[in-house]
């Protein structure tokens, strides 16, 4: 039991190898592309602006986790699958400054945002950040990159939006709810990356594989007898 928890799992999706990372991100080795869903930057700040006290530190935490990933991988393209900014209220000077500072540390990295429902209300990130913003779907290789899950006639869809979680159960009536990847034949759902985001418990359908994340590790959930 002393071995460290598995940090990633490689899966074949649409004939392509994808790495599901315990950091709640997806790494596409062939294109050296990192995919992140539902960052919800500025959510805590937005709540504070409305008079809801939420401790600060979530934005810094989000950006540090991005840093760690970018240091681990030789990333040539970073794609956000929507909900990059949480709300218009959350575009506080502090949040935008932290974001700008973060961008200068990765100035050469091409970044694309597939616009999600929150982005439509929050507005696109400031032009100075050099983030290319596109509407869904963004076709990339065999994939269609979406924010909201949907089906695509030709391509396998990679999407976020739902913040999937899975309730893992075991002997002794043990159970724990964990964020997860959900990989199906035509659709792969990414967990939400943001530090101040909730999750929705899902029941996988047939043919969908579940990969749960917890304690810095990722595990495939064996298929259940239904």
């Amino acid at each position: 039991m002393a071995s460290p928890p598995p940090s990633h799992i490689s899966v074949k999706v649409a004939g392509t190898e994808l790495c599901l990372l315990a950091e709640k991100a997806l790494w596409w080795p062939e294109r050296r592309t990192l995919l992140i869903a539902d960052l919800h930057l500025g959510k805590a700040a937005g709540y504070r602006a409305l008079g809801q006290p939420v401790p600060s530190g979530t934005t810094a935490c989000n950006l540090q986790r991005l840093d760690a990933l970018l240091q681990r991988f030789a990333c040539q393209h970073l794609v956000f699958l929507g909900d990059f900014l949480h709300s218009a209220k959350g575009r506080t000077p502090q949040t935008l400054a932290a974001l700008a500072e973060w961008r200068t540390r990765h100035a050469a990295l091409p970044i694309t945002l597939v616009r999600g429902n929150h982005d439509r209300h929050a507005g696109d990130p400031p032009a100075g950040l050099g983030i290319e913003v596109v509407a869904e779907p963004l076709a990339l290789g065999p994939f269609a990159l979406h924010h909201e899950p949907c089906t695509h006639p030709q391509r396998h869809v990679l999407a976020g939006h739902v913040h999937p979680a899975y309730r893992l159960r075991g002997r002794g009536r043990q159970q724990v709810r964990l964020p997860c990847f959900l990989v199906g034949e035509h659709l792969t759902l990414l967990p939400s990356f943001g530090s101040f985001t909730g999750a929705m418990t899902l029941q996988p359908g047939t043919g969908q594989r579940v990969y749960v994340i917890g304690d810095g590790g990722i595990w495939e959930v064996p298929e259940q007898l239904k």
């Binding site: 940090s7 401790p55 600060s56 540090q64 030789a74 159960r169 075991g170 002794g172 007898l225």
Partner: protein
């Protein structure tokens, strides 16, 4: 003083009534300017005792004064009496009762209502001038105090009456009232306070909380209470707590046939729905004579039922605690209690709803819903006969209520911090408020806390140039007014018929229930089978359906823990049964079950600690039966699990009921060797219970309530349902983010203390440990679940506690699932042995070099 001119003597004389001695005692006390607590059973004449005391003292004077408003109508007296009622629903009837003597005697007093239901026209009228006597709730009183001219408006106030004080004493609404009273007293030091209370085990405490000095007036003896049990023909040997006891339906129908109007009390709203439906199916001819009443039904529906009850038009009403209180329904002849009432006082209160006519006894019949409730029934009868009624304790220093009150007071005329501290400390619950806690409360409303991670954007009140605390922002002021109150509920959706042009609401149902249904699914609500059409804008649209297999909503918060008094009475019954003495009809019927328990294991006993261990496919079980009630068992089970898991990483699943607890461990554990006296030590209780809570989920779940009351989570106001939904859904998230980024926040500290004192009842937990520790251990290794173990084993609502690493737990659960899938199942794809980095690392970006690049923490990968 000329006695004949007193309103009381005139009114009683006109009717040929003779006042009771306790009524005269109250009149005399008020004439002497004293405060006090009046204790008497429902329907005994408490209202008139206090009301005529007030009229005698204040209206007599008023009437003799020259009227100031010219010759025409005499001017109504200014606000003189405040009448606090715990339920909005009671306010109208109370006002009517107070009005009657005014009309008869021609007293120039007006009566007004102020509750959440009061319309804007009436509010505007009251803003110009308050009535002579105002009937209101604690929340509405606080709201009135937030008005800028409050001090003037209340200048004539002479007396505050708190009706049904026992309902408020033990909760935060009562604390809110204490604070409002402190404010009124600071304006009017000679204010008289009278509390009306039903039977409590600690009346002196109940009095002291509202008034430093005052009389305790005893009403005349409790009325004749007759309590019996509806005995089933046979009992099942394996009692299952989830069983709703519909097997008793036939007998219940028979009982209803033989009585005039009957109230059928159930303990939960889902149980009420089930029984209502079952009774109608058994007796379709009772349609229209049978009604349903619970807190989730719309106001109109409940009003209709209450009116029909009063008129004697109903055969029976299936209800919940929603009819515990309130006006007297004279026609009610009898009360049935389905399932245990869980407390002696509650049973007496419910029994008291019947037999209101003079000379008629109150009659309650207990209907056990599973076998062990026969034991509870026998115990309840014993406790009622011995008059062992529960005590209620006022909460100590709830900071959340204080914070809310401070903002409310800053809304009105503002406050001076030093004066306010003295005022707050004059409220019983805050008598020992420390300087530190006070400083924290002020800092909290000013900028969200004392710590370095305070919240500069968050300010609700702050001192102005003169040092007076006020709310600077009109938007925040409005929002605060909307959220005053200490009652917490989950997000709930309105249920409406799906029809063009809209229709009235049927009531409300919790979001969690509806989320499990899909359009087309059927469910039981408001006594009807309904089909879900769609959910839109926080409204559930339904149409009628005729399906018998419908889901029944489960509302949260329906479970009441067994009271200590009742638990003790149960142990006494078992002690008597141990040597084979089965006295009373309930115990004789229960005999076969208890004999099985004895044969397979032993009877739970006051003098030994019975522990049953069992190895099943699920894992390793331990059952204990302290009979200390659900809340204490939860604390005890968490503590024991935490102590067992202190040295070895273990994961437990915990089930509790009112009789005992179960620990279920997923991996091998030697319970026999671990059950030492040290395990039951109560020395270092507080920190260890706290630690056990942090290892579990309880503190997190409780956070919803704390966060809301302190204003950390805003539940929204009419017209803003979306934000309600968002914020309610995220209180668990708040808990996590606070724990990670602001762990010293006093509100979190309070969240833990609240769990301790209320959820787990730490005082009783300590007593229980002290009782259990010296007991000799009676260890039984059982091969299958005993009658007492069975309900615990099938309990689905469970807590968990683990000292294992999350990664290890996940690993085990995943491997459990692999085993369950069996040998034929597909092997899981082997994890790639290559590190991702090896795949992708570019030359020149070696790991070591990066690690020392800037020394920034890397939170995601600390473990490696």
């Amino acid at each position: 003083m000329v006695k004949r001119r007193q309103p009381s003597s005139r009114w009683f004389a006109e009717r040929g009534w003779k006042p009771f001695s306790f009524q005269k005692a109250v009149w005399q006390a008020v004439a002497d300017g004293e405060s006090g607590l009046l204790h008497a059973a429902t329907g005994a004449g408490k209202t008139y005792a206090v009301w005529f005391a007030a009229l005698d003292r204040f209206a007599g004077q008023c009437a003799s004064l020259p009227t100031s408003a010219g010759r025409g109508k005499p001017a109504m007296a200014p606000l003189t009496v405040l009448w606090i009622t715990p339920m909005r629903a009671l306010a109208t009837d109370t006002a009517r009762a107070l009005q009657a003597p005014l009309d008869d005697l021609g007293i120039a007093w007006s009566i007004g209502l102020r509750t959440g239901d009061t319309g804007s026209a009436e509010r505007a009228r009251q803003a110009r001038r308050l009535p002579s006597a105002l009937v209101t709730t604690p929340e509405s009183l606080t709201l009135l105090l937030t008005q800028a001219n409050a001090r003037e408006a209340f200048a004539g106030l002479r007396m505050l009456v708190v009706d049904e004080w026992h309902e408020l004493l033990g909760n935060k609404r009562g604390v809110q009232l204490q604070l409002a009273l402190a404010r009124l007293r600071s304006w009017q030091p000679s204010l008289m306070v009278w509390a009306l209370s039903a039977t409590l085990g600690n009346l002196e405490h109940a009095r002291q909380v509202l008034m430093p000095a005052g009389r305790l007036v005893q009403g005349h003896d409790a009325k004749d209470l007759r309590i019996d049990t509806l005995l089933p023909a046979a009992i099942e040997r394996f009692p299952w707590a989830g069983h709703l006891g519909l097997r008793m339906l036939g007998q219940v129908v028979e009982q209803l046939e033989g009585s005039a109007t009957t109230l059928v009390f159930t303990n939960t709203r889902s149980q009420a729905e089930t029984w209502y439906q079952a009774l109608l199916q058994a007796r379709p001819d009772w349609a229209g004579l049978l009604a349903l009443h619970h807190g989730s039904l719309s106001r109109e529906v409940r009003d209709w039922v209450e009116l029909a009850l009063k008129k004697g038009q109903l055969k029976a009403v299936v209800c919940t605690s929603s009819l515990d209180l309130g006006v007297d329904f004279l026609p009610v002849e009898r009360v049935l209690q389905v399932g245990s009432a869980k407390g002696v006082a509650r049973l007496m209160q419910r029994a008291g709803r019947s037999g209101h006519a003079p000379g008629r006894p109150s009659r309650a019949t207990l209907v056990p819903t599973h076998s062990l409730e026969l034991l509870e029934a026998a115990a309840a009868r014993r406790a009622v006969a011995q008059g062992k009624v529960e005590a209620r304790q006022a909460p100590e220093r709830p900071l959340d209520v204080l914070v809310q009150h401070l903002v409310s007071m800053a809304l009105g005329d503002g406050f001076d911090a030093q004066d306010m501290l003295a005022e707050v400390r004059s409220a019983w619950s805050y008598r020992d408020l420390s300087e530190t806690q006070w400083a924290w409360a002020l800092a909290f409303i000013r900028h969200g806390g004392l710590s370095l991670t305070a919240y500069p954007d968050f300010r609700r009140a702050e001192p102005d140039a003169e040092g007076r605390w006020r709310v600077p922002d009109a938007r925040l002021a409005r929002r605060h007014r909307m959220s005053i109150g200490t009652l917490v509920s989950d997000a709930s959706l309105t249920v409406k018929f799906w029809a063009r042009g809209g229709s009235g609401s049927l009531g409300s149902v919790e979001e969690g229930f509806i989320a499990r249904l899909r359009p087309g699914d059927h469910f039981l609500f408001a006594g009807r089978t309904l089909e879900l059409v769609e959910v839109r804008d926080m409204t559930v649209y339904v149409r009628r359906a005729s399906d018998r297999k419908a889901a029944i909503p489960r509302w949260n918060g329906g479970r009441m823990p067994l009271s200590g008094e009742l638990a003790e009475a149960m142990l006494a019954e078992l002690d008597a049964a141990d040597p084979g003495m089965y006295q009373g009809p309930e115990m004789r019927l229960l005999r076969p079950l208890l004999e099985v328990q004895k044969a397979w294991s032993a009877l739970p006993d006051k003098n030994v600690l019975l522990a049953e261990t069992l190895k099943s496919r699920e894992g390793w079980h331990l059952f204990l039966y302290p009979f200390a009630g659900r809340s204490v068992h939860l604390g005890l089970a968490s503590l024991l699990a935490w102590r067992l898991a202190r040295d070895t990483p273990l994961s437990f699943s915990i089930a509790v009921n009112d009789y005992g607890l179960e620990l279920l461990c997923a991996s091998a554990i030697d319970y026999a060797g671990a059950l030492t006296p040290a395990l039951f030590d109560s020395q270092d209780l507080l920190p260890e219970v706290l630690a056990s809570l942090n290892a579990g989920e309880l503190a997190r779940r409780r956070f919803r309530e704390i966060a809301r009351i302190a204003g950390l989570v805003f539940t929204g106001y009419p017209g803003a349902p979306k934000s309600t939904r968002q914020l309610q859904a995220s209180s668990g998230l708040y808990f996590d983010v606070f724990r990670q980024h602001d762990p010293d926040n006093l509100l979190l500290t309070q969240a833990r203390q609240e769990v301790l004192s209320q959820e787990l009842d730490v005082q009783r937990l300590r007593q229980t440990l002290q009782r259990l520790q010296p007991l000799p251990l009676q260890l039984r290794s059982i091969r299958r679940a005993t009658p007492f173990a069975f309900p615990l084993m099938v309990e689905r609502f469970r807590e968990s506690l683990s000292s294992e690493k999350l990664a290890d737990r996940i690993r085990r659960m995943v491997s459990d699932l692999e085993q369950a899938a069996g040998a034929g199942a597909q092997e899981p794809a082997p994890l790639t042995t290559l590190m991702v980095e090896d795949d992708t690392r570019e030359p020149g970006r070696a790991r070591k070099a990066r690690r020392s690049k800037d020394g920034r923490p890397r939170p995601a990968r600390q473990r490696s």
